[in-house]
Amino acid sequence: MEATASVPVFPIDRPASAFKRWQQWLLYSRVFWAWVFLAPTLITLVLVAGRPLLGTFYLSFTDAELLTLDDSVTWVGFKNYAAILSDPDWWVALRNTLVFSFLSVVLETLLGLGIALVLNEEFRGRSFLRAAVLVPWAIPTVISAKMWTWMYNDMYGVINAGFMALGLTSEPVAWLSSPSTAMFALVMVDVWKTTPFMALLILAGLQLIPKDVYEAAKLDSGSPFRIFFKITLPLIQPTIAIAVIFRALDALRVFDLFYVLIGSKVDTGTVTIYARQRLMEFQEFGVGSAASVLIFLFIGSFTLLYLWAVRPQRDEA
């Protein structure tokens, strides 16, 4: 092309001095500053997460006890793990955790979806409803657990009063005493506390659906049920999947709720209750750490599932 020929040839200046280039790099290099800015976060995470995690792993292979923690501890190999895996209480706790997580996540998802659909409508009082829904989320878990303990009270609780008034039960039930009703009661509290989160996540997904998709669907098919199953559900399904895994991870590590509502009882407890009990109450640091590691590995596999689920959006920037 003739344009190329007419480009004049300039002498290329002597490169700037090494010091000057270094100075300029220091001031403007984005990658250099990116790492400088990251450093505090990374150092903090190594200190508060990495180091303790390694500590737990290490302790799980020793005979450490709370009182002898500062003295030397002895390496015992997989003995602690063997002790836990042969402890029937561990398996009860694991079963409880799974049942609890499954029930509460399923109920939360259904309820959350319902509330999200209501919140996605335009109506008077919508912002009031959204505010009301946020209330359970804002209440600390321990406090909501206390509130529900009082409501579940077998003698004076409002729930028994309500159920009896409605004729659902003929006499007061001690909800938190027997394992079967206790699980149900705990799931109810968790559902109450975390459904708002679920609803808001799903609502965010709903609001990403362009309005004209709905308008087109309404013209094509009158039935709201068809629109829901053919349009809405497929479009928010990825959001729901992520929200479910997110919540499941949370439910699997539940602690406060069980601790406050029923205390450290293993027959109705979760794996976290179990591990903490071995650690702090029985003061068996080795065994407790081994239980913690097992929980970590168990939840870790769910985490990988989550990371896989968010993978496509992960790094589009």
Binding site: A34, F57, V142, K146, F197, L203, F255, G288, A317
Partner: protein
Amino acid sequence: MKWVGKIAFYFLVTLIVFYAVFPFYWAVVTSLKNGADLFKVEWIPTSPTLVNYRSILTTDSFLQSVLNSVLVAGATSLFALLIAILSSYSLSRVRFRGRSLVLLTILSVSMFPQIAVLSGMFELIRWLGLYNTLSGLTFCYMALVLPFTVWVMRGFMKSIPKELEEAAILDGCGPTRIVFQVFFPLMKPALATTGLLAFIAAWNEFLFALTFTLSSDKRTVPVAIAMLSGGSQFELPWGNIMAASVIVTLPLIGLVLIFQKHIVSGLTSGAVKG
């Protein structure tokens, strides 16, 4: 036909509001009752009294725990914000080798079950001499709060248009000036939201607070309320417990309602958009 649907819809709305708000309402009702009234089920207390509030507000250990919670949650969210605003810039605005790895690490730390670090953390803060101190609690709350703070802030920072940063580059800003002179002022609402989320997370935390404090003067609110007890197991002071619950919950509900729009976007940017 149309108004039937409308009535049904509003019935549903009322049901949801009732479900969401009733337990808190019941706590308020209970907190206003005293003596034998406590054990009667009534929608509105017949003889409301503030005696529970007076009693809880004159309990030194409760006031101390509120102060502890404010200090710990405040310090945690402040440190987390300071650290996170820097790293979220790197993670949202700069392409560099290893960025995905750092992102994944941060995301997986935010998924850690707390119990997994409990014994290691116990050993560590004992060794640091921070056991049963507020600084010790702040220290371990960073593990809880920092990852999601970075994540949420990154979401906000990604939404700042690229051209604004480029205008700043042409105006002679290096990365430090971009962050502090251009982005920081724009991030104020985001900082408030993220700070509030961090504050709430630290304020509500129970497992660490229960395990890493020993004396009642170092307890945070959740532990203090969990430990409130009367003479025996069967004589829990429900009036006092509910009064304390209402006192520490009302400010939170207020803040959440004021910031609700921002909170929703903060929460969802953390989870939905990735």
